[in-house]
Each structure stands twice: as structure tokens, then as C-alpha cells.
Symmetry: C2
Subunit: 160 residues, 2 copies
Amino acid sequence: MDRIMETAIEADPKLPIIRITRDFAATPEQLFRAHTDPALFAQWAGPDRLTTRIEHWDARTGGSWRYVAVDGDAEYWFHGCFHEVRQDRIVQTFTFEGEPDGVTLETQTLEDLGDGRTRLHAQSLVDSFEGRDAILRSGMEVGVDEGYAKLERMIIDGAV
Amino acid sequence: MDRIMETAIEADPKLPIIRITRDFAATPEQLFRAHTDPALFAQWAGPDRLTTRIEHWDARTGGSWRYVAVDGDAEYWFHGCFHEVRQDRIVQTFTFEGEPDGVTLETQTLEDLGDGRTRLHAQSLVDSFEGRDAILRSGMEVGVDEGYAKLERMIIDGAV
């Protein structure tokens, strides 16, 4: 059986895409809630040293979102719109407001592995390889790893 | 002086992107209205044989849209969200509901050429070359050409 125990993050060799794969001991419904309920999302998203505060959140097809990641006195704002929100797939846009013209199209797919396990596939598409590689150099991997580790602990604790 | 008299449509050789460039004898403000006012947009968008009927339209950052293109008894539905709407740049998502998992990230930039002329740059980004080439084969170029020709006539007629 193909098991992924940690977060796999890879840059596509031919497309300006980052792909992330992570297995969770949770149902697709639990992972869907963790990605769409703002109170849950704010508890796990991003690196450990940052605190997420949601300003706006409407996780429906055609809705939008904005939040700030706070690190002491520093604030990092992000916003986007939800292109599609359905039980097995969330497609949304993403901009870090420090780079206001940079836009990522994010697709998250929930693959039911059965027995209460789910494989999360997250794809980030941008319009240049330079932009993609700048995201990878920005410390994004640490945020993804630490964020999913927090989510895993919430699942174990029954918080999702 | 570099003048583009017709619609230029090109597939990027290294990225899953279609780029369209078209000059108009209109100000950026006129082209912005033509792209964000639903009554104006419905008059010019798409090929001549189709009629556009707007179902939902909220052309603001974080808003969304849905419309149907009608060809006799046939209906083609499209929807997306507006990631960013500002005077010189509109970023939105786009899905043809006949291919519900296909998503395009569309960026339209209005370059003021002065003297009441504007160059429209439209970029369509998808997540595979196969998907990009399928869009080109779908007759998209005819729709773009005929749509912009209608928009040009509306500008000449003072309707925008």
C-alpha cells in the first residue's frame, strides 16, 4: 500500500505548479471542515510563530476571504475568492498583499482512502516559474509542514 | 510606433497560458466599464451567434459572476469569482460548466496608450498544456475576435 507519512512538496518540472500531498487520519468531512470553518482554519494554518486572525470568510462557491497572519508587531495580509467549494474539492485564489499583483490559483482535493483516512492534494498554480520558485524560497514549506502538523494534533485531540 | 490593429492571440511556448492583445480607440475607463457593467458586457462578449444572459454579477474584489450563452435551444453556462477588480486590472476565475473541473485564471490589464487609446492585455492561465490547447481548439479565437469587434462598434457608436 502506498503510504505517505509526511508532507510531500514538489515543484512540477514543466509547469509553474507546486504540488503538496499529505495523508491524515481523518475523514474527508473532517478535512473539509478544517479548511472551510474559519475558527478551525485559524487554529492550524501557517507556521507556528504566526497567529491567524480572520477578517472576512465566506467559504462558498463565489465567496471570498481575507485574513492576517500576526508575528509580534508584523502583520501579513492575504486575500482571495472561493471559485468553488464542494465536499471533495476547494478551488480558490490567493494573494499575499505584500506582493499585490501576484496571484495563485489553489486547488485542494480530498481523496477518501477509506478507514477514516484521507489524502489531501493541494496544487498551487502561478503564471511564471520565477514566481513559483520565489514562493518556494519564501519559507512556504515551513508554514505548510507546521500548519499540517497542527491540524494533525487537532484531529488527534478531537477538535475537528 | 508599435501598433496592433487586430486581435493578437498567442499560446506561450513554455507556460500553459494564452495571451491576447487588442488595441481600442477608447479610454481605460471605457474599457473598464465594458468589462464590469453587466448590461454592457452582455452586449459584446462572445461570438455573434450567441446571446449572453447574466444570471449573477458582482464585479468587485471578492465578488462573483455567472452567465449563460444561448444559441437557439442550447445553453452554455459559465461562472467564476472576481479576485481583484481595480481600474487598470481585473483578475477573475472562469469555468465552463460543461467541463466543471476546468478552471482558468484570467488577468486583464488596461494599458493607457494616451490620445484616447488603450491596449487590452488578457492572459488566461490553466494547469496543463493539454487544457490550454483544448481551449484554443474549442473555437475560443472566433469568440474573442467577434466579441472585440462588437465592443469596437459599441465604442464607435458611443454606447460605452
